[in-house]
Amino acid sequence: MQEAALIVSYIVIAYMLFSSLSYLGLFALAFRKVKREAKLDKRESTEDFLRNQATYPVSILVPAYNEEVGVVSTVRSLLALEYPEKEIIVIDDGSKDSTSLRMIEEFKMTKIPFAVRMHIETAEIESIYQSSIFPYIRLIKKANGGKADALNAGINLSSFPYFCAIDGDSILENDGLLKTMKPIIESDGQIIVTGGSVRIANGSTISRSKVEVIGLPKSPVVLMQIVEYFRAFLIGRLALSHLNILLIVSGAFGVFNKERVIQAGGYNKNTVGEDMELVVRLHRLLKEEKSKQRIEYIPDPVCWTEAPDSLDVLKSQRVRWQRGLFETLWTHRKMMLNPKYGSIGLVSMPYFLFVELLGAVFEFVGYFIIFGGFFFSLVDPQVAGVMFMVTVFYGSLISALAVLLEELTLHKYPNVSHLVKLYFWALTEAFWYRPLMVLWRVQGIFAAFRKKAHWGDMKRKGIST
């Protein structure tokens, strides 16, 4: 028994050391790009597109389920977006509250007969409304079918070649859409998806789609989510995107080429991670066609979202994310280690499997061994001690490093106190936040075997004033 535990300990320790090193390697890869663009005047580099007919029009899809509190302010913030030509489509996915009523009253909407093209099958469309004040705002009232189904209905109704989807709890920055579309325009359509990163709004003051003051939240749970985001984004995502093998644009705001999405079959209704699954399917489509088109992630934050500050909501979010990741990897298991899919199959799929998905299992075992070693002589206390050190290194020191690296490259938080606060909170990660995440992520893997798709539930407090 002890011998088996010892072997497992060695495996976990080796895993954590290897992952840490791969994190650092990936960061080194991303560093140049971030550093290169850090000083670029973003305003100057996008202002030309504002008055340019080459700027493709975009349909903005807002899927809504029981969003009567936030839907109107979300749409209002979208109206303020700087973009030459856009339409806004709200999809009420069979809400039980007065989501539709709020929209109809606020924007003086009337029912219209609309000849919708059925690119993708969806649940029944009950009616379509159009605003008489802003004719480019439309509302689809449909039978409940889940978020993916709602998005598909939005795609069917949309009239423009590109679309983006935004959740009711997010605020897009005024020039966010322009910044996200920039790579698509500049590549003359060779880039079919761009993802811009999302930042956590708690603690900052946002009014009328503009971030007035950037600040830090008081709640440690939200602070840790900021640290976690630095870690995932700076160490990992950015480098993978740089190599054109970023599989998942999760936690990001994305713009998609509609024709390609329709070709790929639209959003998948059978997973909770519909956004990541779609990106993987598009990658797969490109590889199978041997197409030169690409998917790109831009380091600029373009969208602000409200992070959960209660453990309950955070738990359900993490379980859902992990489940989505599992389902996506499972659906596309054919790509795993398959040379036909190039670096996606050989590097990216294994990375997401071993680091993002199974990492939680390794860490869970690690915590188990530390506990068992110190209190129940499961392994030699010396080994448990090493495991403890490696866990702290992997959990806390790497996260603290991510905070420092953010300051070195993007430095988005304005005060010295922000930096110090984030750094010291990051050091506590391995002792409370990470064990919780690890536990929930393992639960997420189990949940993938059991549950059916449903909308994530979160009590909105609202982030804009």
Binding site: E37, L40, D41, I112, A115, P135, M389
Partner: protein, 350 residues
């Protein structure tokens, strides 16, 4: 497993991080202090700057500026803000004079900087402030740097065009992969006279399709009626993309000398041509094509049906026609489309 080794490793990494934290915090404090000092100088100079922009005899601004410790950074911000607010398409001569006097030397140096972002920003500013004295440096940079049509080369070419250098088009034409979008960017920036000459040349030439498409497209966007006969001629071009661009331009120009030449496009094999023909027939209210539009309401392509229905709404009797078609058209999709358009005018933000 040596616990001591891991202890020491973690401890030294932790100490290393603390040192890095200290350095970064110090750096942040210094930048913040510098930033707030620049902000203060900016605010102090704003009033004097505004007065100077109205009346250049009021030289208080120049005196205050010279006394300012970060005068170049502050001036750059003042000018940039002014240009952004006034959206001065024909940049003010005062802005150009100020930037030439104070910033030209700095920008000449910055163009040789290793930092890519700094060079890009400099190119944007040279364009915004119309600093013609830097043309030789820009040309030199273009000759040396541009092995590929990367972002910097593209911006170099745009900046040169904004300084009215027709050589920008030649420079762009060196890259066979240059898209029409970039040629349009160049046309937009040239001054009227140079622009007309370059458009004429682009329409005459046939060696560079992207350039020709860009010229046709730009003529439509900018509504240059002078070229209307040339655009109508292009409807007979053998290249399908040229024909589509010409149709699109005619739609923008909202006029045709010879509407008869539109007829073949309603029966074209290309759905884009059928769509644009429908849109033009509607926009120009060419009632002779009403019957063809009614036929196209049953086109297999959704966009053609949509455009045909939209076109019918433009005629004075459009509502009656659509009401009739919504019940009597032999095609089910045509009836749906007519139904949609008869009751509502659908649009998007323009």
């Amino acid at each position: 497993m040596n616990l001591f080794f891991f202890w020491m490793l973690s401890l030294s990494l932790f100490i290393g991080q603390l040192i890095l934290l200290g350095i970064l915090a110090w750096r942040k404090q210094r930048t913040n202090r510098k930033e707030s000092s620049v902000d203060r100088q900016y605010n102090e100079l704003t009033d004097a700057f505004s007065s100077y922009m109205m009346d250049q005899d009021d030289t208080r601004f120049l005196q205050q500026l010279d006394a300012s410790p970060d005068k170049l950074v502050v001036l750059e911000r003042l000018l940039n803000h002014y240009v952004a607010v006034t959206k001065a398409g024909d940049s003010s001569a005062v802005i150009t004079a100020l930037s030439e006097q104070y910033l030209a030397q700095r920008y000449a140096k910055l163009l040789k900087q290793r930092n890519w972002a700094m060079r890009m920003n400099t190119l944007y500013f040279i364009e915004d402030f119309r600093m013609a004295s830097l043309i030789p440096q820009l040309n030199e940079r273009l000759a040396k740097h541009s092995t590929s049509l990367d972002q910097e080369t593209q911006q170099l070419i745009r900046t040169l065009a904004s300084l009215n250098e027709p050589a920008a088009i030649e420079a762009l034409a060196k890259y066979p992969e240059a898209p029409a979008r970039l040629y349009i960017d160049v046309f937009k920036r040239l001054d009227e006279l140079t622009k007309l000459g370059e458009l004429e040349a682009a329409l005459e030439g046939s060696a560079n399709p992207a350039l020709k498409h860009a010229a046709i497209s730009y003529i439509g966007m900018a509504g240059i009626m002078l070229f209307l006969p040339r655009i109508e001629q292009e409807l007979e071009n053998e290249d399908p993309e040229t024909r589509i661009q010409a149709l699109k331009a005619l739609l923008h120009l909202q006029y045709m000398n010879n509407p008869e030449s539109l007829a073949p496009f309603f029966r074209s094999d290309s759905w884009q041509e059928r769509m644009f023909a429908s849109q033009i027939a509607g926009a120009l209210q060419l009632s002779r094509y009403k019957e063809l539009l009614s036929d196209l309401l049953g086109d297999p392509i959704w966009w053609v049906r949509y455009s045909a229905a939209q076109a019918l709404t433009q005629f004075s009797d459009g509502d009656i026609l659509l009401a009739h078609l919504s019940t009597n058209h032999p095609d089910r999709y045509a009836r749906d489309m007519a139904n949609q358009w008869k009751t509502s005018l659908l649009g998007s933000e323009q």
